[in-house]
Every structure is written in structure tokens, then in C-alpha cells.
């Protein structure tokens, strides 16, 4: 079962990464590159403004890293796209493993349809719920300290996933009530607030990026779910008929 789970996750992660990488290349990478031109402009010491930038050492430190210091970063063009695709693949396999673990733990029959339902749950938990408090942001937009945002992100994703699991799998009134509380709690608590700041980045570009980011995440999760359900059954068929070869 372990081999079957790992194999299906590799296949699903690869398929989702291929689709998501193509979409990122076409839809979000151009916006990130555009935003970075504004970021280098705003990184210059501006007279008067950027009080928040000075007040928060974490932000200054991290942005200094973007200004072309000694740290390694992939070269512009193809290497950068390749590393983005690699990160997408690593994350795709990672998310597929978690999706598979949840599916197997649920004890339900794993079909493509069932896996798609779990994939949509993954989108709601890991993409949509954190985006309510921390909308997808382009480089150069000021935000709260990194650690506090990462903590809220992880807590929100975990609580939303647990809440959805209770609502969709247990279905008793108490479980549904507990699920709703789990989903609402991080949003009521609230994400770390972003400092007020002025950016040269056009608002339309930022809005476009947020919408495209969520759309790509939805496609990514849908392919991940469908791919996992398909591969899970394909691996079993491949084993039953050794001549066919395994997925």
C-alpha cells in the first residue's frame, strides 16, 4: 500500500506540476517580473515614506536580499523558469502525498471522483482560506513579519482541512458544528495586519495577480485530485497485469 500511495502521488504531483507550470509561465510569471521592476524602484531610499519598512527589520532584511546581494538566485530567463517548475513539482508531489494520506486515512474507496472531492477540499484549505486573510501578493508589497504570517497560514490551512473533514466525512450535527467553528476560527482571529504603505505597483496588476493565482491553484488541485484517483487505480491494474507495466 505504501508503494501504491507513493507511486500515485508521484504521478499526480507530476501531472499537476506540468499543468500549473504552464499556467504560471503564461499568467503569473510576467506579472511577478513586472512587479519586480517597481520593487527595485521602491527599494531605493525614498524621502519621507516607508516608515513601516524602517520600523520592521524583518521586512528590510528580506527586501535587501532581493536587491541583488551575494545570495544565490536563479539567473533570469530559462533557469528561473526551470527552478519555478522544479518548486512546483516538489510541492505538487508534497501536496499529492498529503492528499493521498487523507484519502487512505478516510477509509473510503478511492476513485477519480472521490479524489477530486478531496482535491477541491485541498484547494479550499490550502489556497482559498489562507487567501481570505493573506491575499496572494506580488513582490514589493509590504506585509507583516514573515513568521507571524507563516504561522497564521499553516494554522488556517490545518484548521480548515480538519473542519472540512469533520463536515464532509463525519456529518453528525456535533461534527458539522465543530467543523464550522474550526473553519471560522482563524478568520475571526484574523491574519497579521499588513502595515499601511504606498506602492508604485498599479492596483490592477495586483488584483489580476490575486485572481490568476487562485485560478491556477484551483486547476492545480483539481488535476492533483483527478490524477491521484486515476493513478491509484492504474497502479493496481498495472500490478494485476505485469505485462502492461506500472504507472
Amino acid at each position: 500500500m505504501t508503494i501504491r500511495l507513493l507511486s500515485a502521488a508521484l504521478v499526480a504531483g507530476f501531472l499537476a506540476a506540468c499543468v500549473a507550470s504552464g499556467l504560471q509561465l503564461a499568467l503569473t510569471s510576467p506579472l511577478i517580473r513586472e512587479a519586480e521592476t517597481y520593487e527595485t524602484q521602491s527599494a531605493l531610499p525614498a524621502p519621507g515614506g516607508h516608515a513601516a519598512l524602517r520600523a520592521n527589520p524583518l521586512i528590510v532584511q528580506a527586501h535587501a536580499g532581493h536587491g541583488g546581494g551575494d545570495e544565490w538566485q536563479p539567473a533570469a530567463g530559462l533557469p528561473r523558469l526551470a527552478f519555478t517548475a522544479l518548486a512546483t513539482l516538489v510541492s505538487g508531489v508534497g501536496y499529492a502525498l498529503l492528499l493521498g494520506a487523507a484519502l487512505v486515512a478516510s477509509g473510503r474507496g478511492i476513485s477519480a471522483g472521490e479524489a477530486l472531492r478531496f482535491g477541491i477540499g485541498g484547494f479550499l484549505a490550502a489556497s482559498l482560506a489562507p487567501a481570505i486573510g493573506l491575499p496572494p501578493e506580488l513582490p514589493g508589497i509590504e506585509a507583516a513579519a514573515l513568521e507571524s504570517r507563516q504561522f497564521w497560514w499553516v494554522a488556517t490551512a490545518a484548521a480548515t482541512a480538519a473542519g472540512l473533514g469533520l463536515i464532509a466525512l463525519r456529518r453528525t450535527p456535533v461534527a458539522v458544528a465543530a467543523g464550522i467553528v474550526l473553519i471560522a476560527a482563524p478568520q475571526v482571529w484574523g491574519a497579521p495586519p499588513a502595515p499601511d504603505s504606498v506602492s508604485l505597483l498599479p492596483a490592477a496588476t495586483a488584483a489580476k495577480f490575486a485572481a490568476r493565482s487562485l485560478a491556477i491553484a484551483f486547476v492545480f488541485w483539481a488535476v492533483l485530485g483527478l490524477g491521484f484517483g486515476w493513478a491509484w487505480n492504474a497502479v493496481a491494474r498495472g500490478r494485476a497485469a505485469p505485462g502492461v507495466g506500472s504507472a
Binding site: T2, R4, G65, V93, A105, S127, E137
Partner: protein, 58 residues
Amino acid sequence: MVALTRTLSPALAGERLGAVLMAGLLGLGLLFVSGFAPTVALHNAAHDWRHTHNFPCH
């Protein structure tokens, strides 16, 4: 660990539990590397992915 086995379905034991735990830990490890690791080189390599998929980034 005890709490985890109790919340999962009763039939979840032995091989299934092992598969779930292994996939879960491996998945979390991969996501940490691509989405959260503070190492500058990892951050820069995964930068565009982190922004697009809304991982908190610099």
C-alpha cells in the same frame, strides 16, 4: 500519536497506518522545503512558486 490513531477510522492499522504516516511526513517535508524553508537559496529558487501559490514570502 494515540490521539491520531483514535481519530482515524478504526480499520486504520498496520500497513495502512504506516502508509498514511509515511506519506504525511514526506509530504509535509517537501512542502516545507518548497514553501517555507527560510534558507535564502531555497527561497530564491522557489520564489515565483511561493508568490503564485500564496505562501507567505519575504
